[in-house]
């Protein structure tokens, strides 16, 4: 294609000033994409057109700006949406014939009589909008009431849940402490100072076991009742340190599936050659019931 000849043919002027039929328009648009010179010529013609159009510039009547800003401010509400011309409305909006009628009105040359009826339509439209707004305010109030009701119920549920959780935590804490003066070790399992002894059961307790970790330096003792049944009613298992063949109280502990993963802190033990477990009355005994020894093991 002879680009210079194309440019000087006048087709670009006709294109920019909008007098080409559609088929020729797309021809020009293709040429613009293909030839930078054509694009430059079209751009400069667009600028000419803009300057030319500026010659006809007229300040629009006041009030349109305010109306537009108001429409845009409310465009996300249904009322605002209804202010828009039909084709620009969001699809969810109801159709009101009001705007259409005004459009027809504005198309017709405005005679004074037309003006009046157009005013009337605007009044009706305004009234409709006010009604919608009132309805919306009422609904807001209604739903707000409802939502506060749900909110308070939700809050009381949360409070109950928090109380339950706090109780549970408290329980876990007391079972851990068991009147031990020794500070809780944050992670006795990975602390090398702890010596872990697994105590296996025999007889009725065959297959049952607990693990006891003892830190000879801090005297802290932890127990994990991995495989221990729930004690009979009114009874509780108690741990004893074996010191020179005598049993020294190391505190009671909880058993059962629920605590099988828990580390329970026991009473401090200064010296121990081994550990034993007996079944005692709930709360523990001062002296061990020697006929109730379930299991024992030496510290390796």
């Amino acid at each position: 294609m002879d680009v210079q000849r194309y440019i000087s043919s006048g087709i670009l002027e006709s294109y920019v000033f909008g007098m080409l039929p559609e088929s020729e328009q797309s021809d020009v648009e293709t040429a613009v994409l293909q030839y930078p010179d054509v694009k430059a010529a079209v751009d400069s013609l667009q600028l000419d057109k803009e300057r030319f159009v500026q010659l006809y510039a007229v300040p629009p009547p006041s009030g349109i700006r305010e109306r537009l800003v108001e429409i845009i401010r409310q465009e996300n509400t249904e009322e605002g949406n209804d202010l828009l011309p039909e084709e620009l409305r969001l699809p969810v909006a109801r159709k009101t014939p009001v705007k259409k009628v005004t459009e027809v009105q504005t198309l017709v040359k405005h005679l004074p009589a037309n003006r009046k009826s157009s005013d009337r339509i605007w009044k009706i439209a305004t009234a409709a909008i006010v009604l919608l707004l009132l309805g919306s305010v009422f609904m807001n109030f209604f739903f707000f009431q409802k939502s506060t009701d749900y909110k308070s119920r939700y809050k009381s549920l949360i409070a109950t849940k928090q109380k339950l959780e706090a109780d549970k935590e408290q329980q876990a804490l007391t079972s851990l402490k068991q009147a031990s003066p020794i500070a809780a070790d944050p992670d006795p399992l990975s602390n090398p100072d702890f010596k872990w002894t697994r105590i296996q059961g025999g007889g009725t307790y065959a297959g049952k076991s607990v693990s006891v970790g003892w830190n000879a330096r801090t005297q802290a003792v932890y127990l994990q009742a991995q495989l221990m049944p729930q004690p009979p009613a009114g009874k509780q298992f108690q741990l004893w340190a074996i010191v020179n063949k005598k049993l020294v109280d190391a505190g009671v502990f909880n058993t059962g599936a629920e605590v099988s993963e828990q580390l329970q802190q026991m009473k401090a033990v200064a010296v121990a050659q081994g550990f034993a477990v007996t079944l005692e009355r709930k709360g523990g005994s001062q002296e061990p019931s020697m006929d109730q020894v379930c299991m024992s093991a030496k510290v390796q």
């Binding site: 803009e50 030319f52 006809y56 510039a57 007229v58 300040p59 429409i71 828009l84 504005t106």
Partner: protein, 182 residues
């Protein structure tokens, strides 16, 4: 028009996409006189032009995502919207071509357009510039741009061959360019 631009075109587009109402107000202040001028000239009717201008700005606001900076400046795009909206309305008025033409010829003769009614220092050069175009050149631009006539229609109305329409259009625009850029 003289003004201190506070937004570049790119900032304007970004601001509008971000639904910034301040940017919209700025856009309105900057461009509404030009767009309103186009609408008034197309419709030759001040009473409905305000409503059309409002519709045009709402279209700009709503359809900004369709604007493609690759295809031209923002102002060009806005002008197209204003012109096409106004011309659609003009056509829906079911004006016959002859009526369109009559309006144009009246327009060209009479100096009683909206400009004469609201003279303003900004537009004072206007009539002097148009005087330098021949009457035929003015009619040609007006028919094409402001009345949306195709070249066939223009050829029929002005009784010139179709091929000549483009050449004359080119002459008219280069004459216009010379005058404007002087």
């Amino acid at each position: 028009m003289e003004y201190a631009p506070t937004y570049t075109e790119d900032e304007l587009v970004q601001g509008l996409k971000a639904r910034d109402q301040k940017v919209f107000s700025y856009l309105y202040d900057q461009y509404s006189p030009a767009l309103y001028g186009v609408i008034v000239k197309v419709l030759n009717d001040n009473s409905s032009a305000g409503d059309v201008l409002q519709e045009v700005f709402l279209k700009i606001w709503r359809h900004l995502d369709k604007y493609d900076p690759e295809k031209g400046r923002l102002f060009t795009w806005m002008l197209n919207i204003a012109r096409n909206t106004a011309i659609d309305i003009l056509r829906s008025k079911s004006h016959k071509l002859e009526q369109k033409i009559q309006n144009i010829i009246d327009d060209v003769h009479a100096v009683n357009g909206p400009l004469a009614v609201h003279p303003s220092t900004d537009y004072i050069g206007f009539s002097r510039i148009l005087e330098k175009l021949t009457k035929e050149q003015r009619t040609l631009i007006d028919l094409a741009y402001y009345k949306g006539c195709t070249q066939e229609e223009i050829s029929r109305v002005l009784e010139i061959p179709l091929g000549t329409v483009k050449t004359r259009m080119r002459n008219a625009i280069s004459q216009l360019r010379n005058i404007i850029n002087k």
